[in-house]
Symmetry: D2
């Protein structure tokens, strides 16, 4: 047993403390790690606010270590041909159960959900905001690009985008989605929202060849506009200028009223990815004409959550590519580096936040 | 020009008449045909009621011949190695435009919609309720099974089901949908509705290996219960007994309130096929928790309309298989044979209707 | 321990005896079964001839019970909602290992092969030619159609065809394989061989909409020609009349010289399924032009072996459909019913053999 | 009519001249372009040697302008929102016919072949080794990355690799190809050959997560070894050290003897991409055991030729990513820049050639 520093909550009640905890030291382990950077997102804030009823502490414990968007460094590791001491790695958040999808490494598609699978820092497993972490090598994804540095902390949010595009690739095969020249040139992708996930969706959309527009119900800051511009991504305040003829719609808001307004702007054979969640969003009256619109146009609406290890690998690769081609914009996604003791960041977004991260001491 | 009998409406205003019309006789044609049986469905009734604003007469004409669920007989045909005089055929309803999907025979997935594609008896093309029809061979699908008889008139409604299962096959590939023994044994399919399309969906679902339940908000007649039983399909009055743990949900109602109640009973990785349309159905307040449910469970919702020629071929094959294994039940789907002059069937469903057809004299 | 009758070999040495063996009676079991009909095929004959070096006895035993194409009847079964005493069932041949494909019920695609997976009657597991069999319910596929009778013994060979068409479905997606009307009308499938597997491939090909021709290097018997004709399948003695413009080529011969002659008759985007095996077939000089032919035409050649439980289910469904539409031809596939003591059938094909089966007493 | 410089051959007879030719100036055109760099490959050399019987001059002409691996610059262009004067573009080589694949921009999968489709500089269409080129905008792919420079001339050979991986993606779906953690970590890809296409295949393989080894029947130069090393690609002289346990085998040699030796080292569910062609390669005796090997292991062998416009787009994107992460290695692929008058490069490879290009004056 050792005493270490950690940021903890009590799931699902909430609250947050940077405090000392006692953690057992395993006799045998594959890898011993320490955090370097850990991002925080709406889920962390929801947990601290006590707003996420599905979260729970590890079995037999009365607290939950927070943190799932992690970049770790290897302190010690058993003999293997993948990672070595000193390497930077990103740990998997969701850990498999025994369902048919979990057993092939696709716990992101768990057929059962809890308690078949667990998520570090969220449901029944401690997260990564603690001085020391023990884990199996198979749960770690190596950062190959030595230039990447702290940018690698964006792997976890980006992996969700990679999985969502995998879903798009599958469902869009129901008809010919591409142009008659086989490309996506001019195909319109609209991303609802302008937070960090919206940026990541937009950048991947550009890599995929889409004409991408981010939308929100207000104008955006000069800083964000510049970042979008660097990647060739457009922006629209949809209260002033509502996009239409959308081929791929991605929602990061979780707000039904916004979603369904945009669904009625989707083209025949269009695809809608539902990614954002906001359990408290009020109802929007979907009527017979809305259903009719979806049916007559062969529209597909796909919920997408989490991602598999391969998407972490893909995310790291895209981050490297982006970093080498647009270094400043990628760095600008991380808008604030907090110290662990600044637990107020769980309650209040730092001004101009795109992504806030904690730099672990 | 010849004068023939036809059942016509004036789209989109509505109305119905069994009347004489003047139709040009083409100098050259590939096939000359006459109707044998023609089914009627909600679309025909919607047109007659003037409720379908998207319908329109052929260009330059002030009427539209009704009828798209047709079984025709070949009166005369140019030299070819597919059909001959006397053959029974089913004509395609939707005719291609120039979009990328239309040009490969997938006008059911038309990327543009009207006016790129047209639908016989619905949008800009005369239907089949007329003494004589001229068409190209490529628009005709041969009835191969000589035993099938009038059952072949069910090809058109059944082809929609075949296409919807093609959509299911594509979108369900986003995860492992099947059991860990590779089968669908015990996978639950629920079909909302108990009309003719609901029966056809249920029968195909059984062929695909699903455990199938039809649902409606009332008990069903003894006759329908017997037909379901013959195919091993269950039934539930969902006001009394709400099914849950659904893997594949098919809606034939078009009613958002029913659809979204059932969506919240769908399993992880579940698929929802939206097929029914009812433009007048009132709004149902879809809220943040509903969206969250879809996202967290990787649920896919797919609108599906119309079908391609291959689905007509598949439909005829299934009808033959069903006819030889369950002759009485298949015959019982056709609950009433009307004469053309009985135009009241467009206003009022004959008692106990599953499918009403017109026997052309 | 009980003494029962069985037909055994000593793998891989060969030989065959109908003899008494001692088999342990398990204290607990899910299902107790007896054979009804068991087919024999080239594999059984290869084992008896000692020609299959990959076969082996169960661990610690000095004999191997033969028989993998089985139709069994349930003598006793533990409580379950799938099968009951008296039901007819077909047992799975291949039993899963721990590889990523095996663990999702796709041991037909075992990533490792022996000793990860085993095959009853072939590699390390006793087959079904014995008075009593104990098995788990998950390894049994129920015969649902009460009319099917002994025809169900064809499930095992047919399941291989179903899997091969699944492979075709996947690999043919690399381009548009179908006609520009979305159908397979006129698409040419050629099946090399005219034994039982060739018949089953041809019949499935017809169901899939292909224009099917079986070929062999001699004329065929009147009986076989009549059976083909009943299903609309053509035949060609390819020494006299070599087919060309082939879209789907299926080989059941395992003979490289025949295969590669036909490969050069395959159309652009064509698919070749390699199914037959004949380890002793002499070499055929494949040269640079042959490779060039495959490359320039985007041809896909896919080996396909075994099948998953879902293919057994599909096979049973097709057998029912065929039986009700072509009863005599389906019955005629079984050309001889032997008694267990007629072990000479393992050495010598009964005259006019398509499929020889043993009727277990 | 204007007189311009061009490098021409007389297909299929062969020969090569840098000479003046008369070319008509179209009254109307979408884009007027000039070459900047043009690569040469085995096809160009085969044409000049008169070894490619399938090549032919444009209809009514007695010569064929060579050159299909082109980087062009826009001299003049009609109003559009894709390219403007001064942009660098890569032109499509293959131009569509009317087949079902051509009509959706997939002339790389032409169902018919010549004369349905044509290839610039190869079959019936003039290539790009001439002072002035007129073309339609839809046949041009813009170079978006201003840093890329002459590296963009590698787009054409790389696009073939992108298409081959699309084929891999499709055919490998017939089973679970990936590891049980969903990744390709440790999956072994072997590329036969060490020329420019072999390098490009290897680099894409690395991007896809494979453990990649290039092989040849001799040791490789220090220069090539360094380039491989920079991308983490291994090399093996297979006469000394034959790789085995191959998951993805790519052939760039067209030599049956090498191909089939390596096929027998492919794992269960492995994929073989046949890409290289060498019509003069001698025969290799493929025997029954070779066929058996492919069947029993569910191996897929796929010919792959040419690519679609989307693959040009993907190729340009990968070139940019590689250029920014491995600038020197990417530059080192171009081993020699010739002047147009150096027509000896069509007969004799410059020493140490990976890719030779002509810099157009």
């Amino acid at each position: 047993m050792s005493t270490i520093n950690a940021i903890v909550t009590d799931a699902p009640k909430g609250g947050v403390k940077y405090t000392k905890i006692d953690m057992p030291e395993p006799e045998k382990y594959e890898a011993k790690l320490k955090p370097v950077y850990i991002g925080i997102c709406g889920t962390d804030r929801g947990e601290v606010a006590g707003a996420l009823s599905f979260t729970y502490n590890p079995e037999g414990e009365n607290f939950l270590v927070l943190g799932h968007e992690a970049l770790l460094q290897v302190l010690d590791v058993s003999d293997n041909n993948y990672i070595k001491r000193g390497d930077f790695v990103v740990p998997l958040v969701r850990r498999p159960g025994k369902c048919v999808n979990c057993r092939i490494g696709r716990q992101d598609n768990c057929s059962i959900g809890d308690p078949d699978k667990h998520e570090a820092g969220i449901t029944g497993l401690h997260g990564f905001m603690r001085d020391v972490i023990y884990d199996d090598i198979q749960n770690l994804v190596k950062v190959n690009d030595p230039d990447l540095g702290k940018i690698a902390v964006l792997t976890e949010p980006l992996k969700n985008v990679m999985k969502a595009f995998e879903v798009f690739d599958v469902v869009s095969k129901r008809s010919i989605f591409q142009n008659d020249d086989s490309t996506f040139i001019g195909k319109k992708m609209v991303v609802i929202g302008s937070g960090s996930e919206a940026f990541l969706y937009s950048f991947v959309g550009k890599d995929r060849g889409f004409d991408v527009t981010m939308v929100n119900r207000h104008d955006e800051t000069e800083n964000k506009m510049k970042m979008m511009d660097d990647f060739g991504v457009g922006f629209s305040n949809y209260l002033k200028d509502m996009p239409d003829k959308i081929d791929l719609l991605v929602d990061t808001s979780g707000d039904p009223s916004t979603i369904f307004k945009f669904v009625k702007k989707v083209n025949n054979n269009g695809v809608v990815i539902l990614f954002g969640t906001n359990g408290k969003a009020p109802g929007y009256p979907v009527n017979g004409e809305d259903i009719d619109y979806i049916v007559e146009r062969n529209i597909t609406i796909a919920g997408s959550v989490d991602a598999a290890k391969i998407h972490y690998v893909q995310a790291l690769d895209s981050l490297s590519n982006w970093y080498h081609r647009h270094p400043q914009t990628i760095k600008d996604i991380i808008t604030y580096e907090a110290k662990p003791e600044e637990t107020n960041i769980f309650f209040q977004k730092p001004k101009g936040e795109i992504k806030t991260v904690i730099k672990w001491p």
